[in-house]
Point group: C2
Chain length 372, copies 2
């Protein structure tokens, strides 16, 4: 395959999202060294920008050199030791992944399951926390990309705050699209991906650790199982010491820098409002066309809509036609939702009326719904 033959797509799946030309330009800037004072200044800016979008003052806020699942692994591996208890809310693929990772780290995992498409009721999480007062971690997924559900955090955060448990939140699909509010929600560790509402290609995964989490890292009795993701080593590079750990993905950091600059220019509140308005518009239009929204009412993410197709329609071939005939990518279902629904992302640079117009016209074409 030649890169010259690459046909652009309108990316309205669960990620990656469309990347603005200014971000692609940034990506192609000349590579400099990872210890170059210029690059260190860029990394410092990126830390500031990430604190802004996470809503936190945490010093230890940086992009992991990997994709979202690497940051998920970093978030757990740095604070869990074998035998520790981890409470994990599971109402979709990514909650399940958190639980699986914690198990591989030797943790005793207590899952709090909820039906896919529904939130995990905060009172259930809190009741389980009360039963495990020495749990090391309580983890939930803020924006469950497999179902489009937004998990309420505030009550859980308040309950965790007075305990010895750390509050870990998967914010991969949230950051830059809907509020995370790390400090207000008393989150200790949150992580994200660049390829969703930040509008940057995949390849980096922002993460933030509270001072409480860092204290836990300092007092663990065994080293972090992962050298690559060990935050105590990364702190040497990110802090005043500037000690070599690994070579950061320089050009990807440029792109993230540009993405965070674009967010500052737009304003975070304006950006949230844009995502909310565009997502609501799409969801209304899909219902009019006979789709059923999969996520629980009142807890629907605007940036990621999961929709069951109108009765009798097979999703796979129709989704392939959207891609092939209209150049629009939407996602299929994962896990137990496979074959049943579409996951439509309106994220970052893709959260526009034009995206919705193009998508609806294409949907009307392939489904033969109301007069294209």
């Amino acid at each position: 395959m030649l890169l010259d033959d690459l046909r652009p797509r309108l990316l309205l799946g669960p990620g990656p999202s469309p990347v603005a030309p200014r971000i692609l330009d940034a990506l192609g800037r000349p590579t400099v060294g990872h210890l170059d004072p210029q690059f260190l200044a860029i990394m410092d800016d990126v830390g500031d920008g990430l604190r802004h979008v996470f809503g936190t003052d945490h010093t230890m806020t940086f992009p992991v050199s990997g994709t979202g699942s690497a940051a998920m692994e970093a978030s757990l591996a740095n604070v869990l030791e074998p035998g520790d208890t981890a409470i994990v809310g599971v109402n979709g693929v990514f909650g399940g992944r958190l639980a699986e990772m914690a198990r591989r780290m030797g943790a005793e995992v207590v899952t709090v399951e909820a039906e896919w498409g529904r939130i995990v009721e905060p009172e259930r999480m809190i009741a389980i926390l009360r039963q495990h007062p020495h749990a090391r971690v309580l983890a939930v997924v803020l924006a469950e990309t497999s179902t489009g559900v937004e998990q309420p955090l505030a009550e859980i955060g308040a309950a965790v705050a007075g305990t010895e448990t750390l509050f870990v939140v998967d914010a991969v699909t949230a950051v830059g699209g809907t509020p995370v509010e790390v400090d207000r929600n008393r989150i200790d560790i949150a992580y994200a991906g660049t390829q969703k509402c930040l509008g940057v290609p995949p390849g980096l995964a922002p993460v933030t650790f509270s001072e409480r989490a860092m204290e836990r890292i300092r007092t663990r009795t065994t080293p972090c199982q992962s050298w690559y993701l060990d935050v105590s080593l990364l702190a040497g590079y990110l802090g005043s010491e500037r000690k070599y750990h690994h070579t950061a993905p320089i050009n990807m950091v440029y792109a993230l820098h540009e993405g965070l600059t674009a967010i500052r220019e737009e304003g975070l509140e304006a950006r949230y409002a844009r995502h909310a308005r565009i997502g609501a518009r799409l969801q209304g239009a899909l219902v009019e066309r006979g789709f059923r929204l999969f996520a629980q009412e009142g807890h629907r993410l605007p940036q990621l809509t999961s929709a069951l197709l109108p009765e009798g329609r097979e999703e796979g071939p129709l989704r392939a036609r959207l891609l092939e005939e209209h150049g629009i990518e939407v996602g299929g279902g994962l896990g137990s939702a496979k074959g049943k629904l579409w996951r439509i992302g309106l994220m970052g640079h893709g959260a526009t009326d034009e995206s919705v117009d193009r998508l609806l016209a294409a949907v009307d074409d392939v489904l033969g719904t109301r007069g294209a």
Copy 2:
């Protein structure tokens, strides 16, 4: 810091190396989805290109979504279980890192140490292997980036081949600059980085697993400690199933694709000859100027030269002047070589006479060596 203010550098350190405009162009191509048939075709091409540069037929050859140290971790974590024995040659930073990672995985690590700047004698490695016939892994660093030493592999590979031990080779700085010859050297697992002799920005880490290594992965009794780096899961994405695992760094894969295309166009033998000639030219010129080469004679990498400064010269301030006054980056020493030497990379797109000309002129300026 504004990206517009970024001053380009001539990257002659231990990595990243200079990135050709065609690679930067590729990086900025429109992002498509990681399950888009177009992207899957690109990934297949990348697998072919990596098999070519590694010198292998191994099916399981792909870029890890991280930097070189992530691939190092993947190489060990997939085959080691707690209690396994790992024999590791240590003659610099990266051998030490291999040993440290294996320890964190619960392995019994047997190090075979050699003085920094010297190879680990193959007969010593082989003698230790004979003492540990059930060792799971024997690992060495082919191109030790901290010292500039090239480790001989063939005898070790031949000795390992008849045993139950897997031969793991760090080829981060070798791939694309000097031969790795995975199949000829009977290597089971080798890994690399994109930011050295492949001439691509940092952010991906090629790796290859033999069928013997894959069989070991299939028969392990505990899951790989890392979900993110689990090759048995990645195989589902890379194989015919195309099953979602994580979102690959799409644009970085474009860049790697372009880098591998450039290598095919140049020809691997011509590329090795270019690196050999340019490296030898630099090493001769440095000796003329009173530098002493740190690496053992007969085992010097052409792409990475470690050189002790002329008597009485302090490396730090002179290195800063190269960067600030001449826009040229070279590396300092790591670990026990800190403060003593420079590490000069002539890698990939940077391995040219023009690089050497510019560097020597700058060296003559800051050191006052023979008439600039």
